[in-house]
Amino acid sequence: MTNPLTLLGQRALRVLRSFGHAAFFFVDILRAVPEAMRRFGLVVAQIHAIGNLSLIIILASGMAVGFVLALQMYYALVTYGAAESLGLVVNLSLVRELGPVVTGLLFAGRAGTSLTAEIGLMKAGEQLAAMEMMAIDPKARVLAPRFVAGIVSMPILAILFSAIGILGAYVVAVLLIGVDAGNFWSIMQSRVDVWRDVGNGIVKSAVFGVICTFVALYQGHETEATPEGVAYATTRTVVMSSLSILAVDFILTALMFSTP
């Protein structure tokens, strides 16, 4: 006779066990990274699949966000006569927050799901078991290269997102609205700090890269070998990656930007 308390306890234990399982998985992948680096061709191929193929959506989104930020911030700033600071506001918003976070969310959706599906289907088709039986560690050959590729790709994508966002904001602010071009850049240059703002943004995006890629690989590896299993796993990848990014972003922002 199971009562609610027992069920709750069982549920909690299962969650704990899955955390532990995930932690071991993470350590295994880390241990396999040196060997993956020796087979650098594999990593390169994965950077292509994860990074290059995400370029279009990242650049398009970056530009769109830049446009919209410029428009919205303009209306807020112009009431205080501070329209000249538009460049600064857009830059800080992108480089500190929107660049890493939005890129992370898009990355989870585009690259994360494709990783999960790929690993899940490889597992379903017994490809990973076949590799094991051939005495080749699938973690070193399949998982670790993808992990490294994700960590390398995310910061690059976030940088490009911010850069094209600033350019997009320039187009809207200077060419369309009429903010002074010189002020747009000079106020931005005088107040944005390379190490504190751009640097911290890159650190954030690297952390998000680790989170997204790891969640995607883990979900793919643990999925049931059925169509529903893979579909469920891809959903979980997006949800867990997104929630983790937002939560970690809050913590990182508090750590990095709390003292002005």
Partner: protein, 171 residues
Amino acid sequence: MGKKGIETLVGLFVLLGMLGLAFLALKAANLGSFGGGEGYTLTARFDNIGSLKVRAPVRSAGVTVGRVTAISLDNKSYQGVVRIEVDRNVQFPKDSSARILTAGLLGDQYVGLEPGADEKNLGAGDTIKQTQSAVVLESLISQFLFSKAADSGSGNAPATPPAAPPAGAKK
């Protein structure tokens, strides 16, 4: 897509990333605006540094010539010790003064250097002797009220609201 093709594309991707980083760092932030060459360190002590922060600019005649690198409290004299790094190409006489000024009405605070008249210049590691602390709003108000109270104490009616003297405007 051959192996060489993929490698080229990935190389392009990484190159694009580096270009984006260069853009962000140079065009959109303050990396390039420090000017050429290394700097030399000077120290200045203030009774009150106000809201001066590390990495605040050091300006002379409005031109940025350096950055604040460290702020600490001297535990014996209870003065704020501010270390600044000044561009090597700019020299200041030994009796130059340092003040903490505010950029614009509500802006951030920065260190303003006013050159003195000494023949010899400040070298690396020297201390700026003449300093003027930041203006603290509360002290200003209490100073104003105190002086008003002193005026009324010498006979004038305190009922009239203290208005800004029009004499200043007439000048």
